[in-house]
């Protein structure tokens, strides 16, 4: 016996992108005292001049909704036409239920399927891959993919390895049907042997403790082994990026825009060198004024390039995101 299938024959593409930046502009000068550092050192190590933090009212849900409203409007559809919401985040601190359901409701979708995914900095590109497959398979017609983080809340301001890096914001993309294919096959995977390279310092049981042994009572901040991550990201990920171009059936000469996860300007530069990207390819450098927003960084960076005219409708953009896990995902997309 064979069960019914969804009778769909369609390609998928990104129909619209939107983003929202935390409203507090935090220069390096406001970060350095707690880590005994300097503006020059931070810029030299990361390329970051300032970062965006959310204020007390800019919750994960609030930033997601604001970014999504823009993406939906630019996609030329209404919220009611969204039938699936995928939220990639590691900094929504209420573990259950998924924040995606509240976002879907606030936006005014009609009981859209809604769930969160946990792939850290790689989350948005995982979401785009899922959305692409859902649309092509007929599981959904218009998928809203959100990458959102409020990392300032889970970053130790006294940690020299992370305090100057992480930041807050949201990015959203609507993925829907298309006559031509606008999203390449995904190249993704994980290197679980490096599970400890980037992680929450301890789990919630260690925070709470027991009556006999009280826990730390401190937020389980993010930790990172910077040099090891730098090596993996700059070189292993450059190979994944080039593999993604092959899977998309294009050469680097045909690529217009490169949007890597905004982890660190030094990683972006090293990747571009290692990939031997031709000089005409425009490279996202949103991190200088935004910081590293994990799952939100790729859509934030792409949105800035579109607004500033560096990425134009029809351009081919290579998206690659990588981070805790270690997990990674990459695809070529046509800019909406």
């Amino acid at each position: 016996m064979s069960l019914a299938t969804t009778p769909v024959d369609t390609h998928a593409r990104i129909l619209g992108i939107g983003s929202y930046r935390g409203s507090l502009i935090v220069p390096n000068a406001d970060i350095i005292a707690a880590i005994d550092s300097s503006d020059e050192w931070i810029q030299q190590r990361s390329g970051i001049r300032e970062r965006r933090f959310a204020d007390e009212h800019e919750s994960v849900q609030f930033m997601s909704v604001e970014a999504s409203k823009v993406a939906i409007q630019r996609a030329g559809i209404t919220a009611a036409e969204i039938d699936c919401v995928v939220v990639a985040t590691v900094s929504h601190l209420l573990q259950t239920p998924a924040i995606a359901t509240a976002i879907a409701h606030e936006l005014g979708t009609d009981k859209a399927a809604a769930f969160d995914i946990s792939a850290a900095c790689a989350g948005f590109c995982h979401g785009v891959a899922l959305a692409n497959d859902m649309v092509r398979a007929g599981s959904a017609t218009n998928v809203l993919v959100i990458g959102v983080e409020r990392l300032s809340e889970i970053t130790d301001p006294g940690d020299r390895g992370t305090a100057f890096i992480f930041a807050d914001g949201a990015g959203a993309a609507v993925v829907g049907r298309s006559e031509t294919n606008g999203i390449s096959p995904v190249v993704w995977g994980s290197d679980g042997e490096y599970f400890d390279y980037i992680r929450q310092r301890e789990d919630w049981r260690d925070v709470v403790g027991t009556p006999e042994e009280p826990g730390s009572g401190v937020m389980p901040f993010l930790t990172m082994q910077g040099s090891s991550v730098f090596r993996w990201a700059s070189f292993a990920m450059a190979k994944i990026a080039n593999e993604t171009l092959e899977r998309a059936g294009i050469t680097a000469d045909e690529l217009d825009v490169f949007v890597p996860h905004q982890a660190n300007m030094r990683i972006i530069d090293a990747m571009a060198r290692s990939m031997k990207l031709p000089p005409h390819v425009r490279i996202a450098r949103d991190i200088a004024e935004q910081g590293n927003t994990s799952a939100a960084s790729v859509p934030l960076a792409l949105d800035r390039m579109m607004v500033e005219g560096e990425a134009r409708s029809g351009d081919k953009a290579l998206l690659i995101a990588f981070g805790a896990g270690l997990a990674y995902a990459a695809q070529v997309v046509v800019v909406p």
Binding site: R45, G226, S227, S228, F230, R231, S234, R266, A270
Partner: protein, 81 residues
Amino acid sequence: MATTEEIRSDLADIVNEVAGVDTDEVQLDKAFVDDLDVDSLSMVEVVVACEEKFGVSIPDDQVKNLRTVGDAVAFIERAAA
């Protein structure tokens, strides 16, 4: 088998490409961080380029032992032997 001077010269080219240091400066007695201003992230790039150039493996936990250009050349000579 490359001579010490050949390895030093190739390494100098790598340090020049990664960190913009004049190749004549990259001598065996020079320390990467203190003398050549090659920071830890650039050092990672140098190490990966050396792995490709010389066909050796330089694990993360070894990098901190490569304080001088001479340390790196000696490591490469041993690893390639």
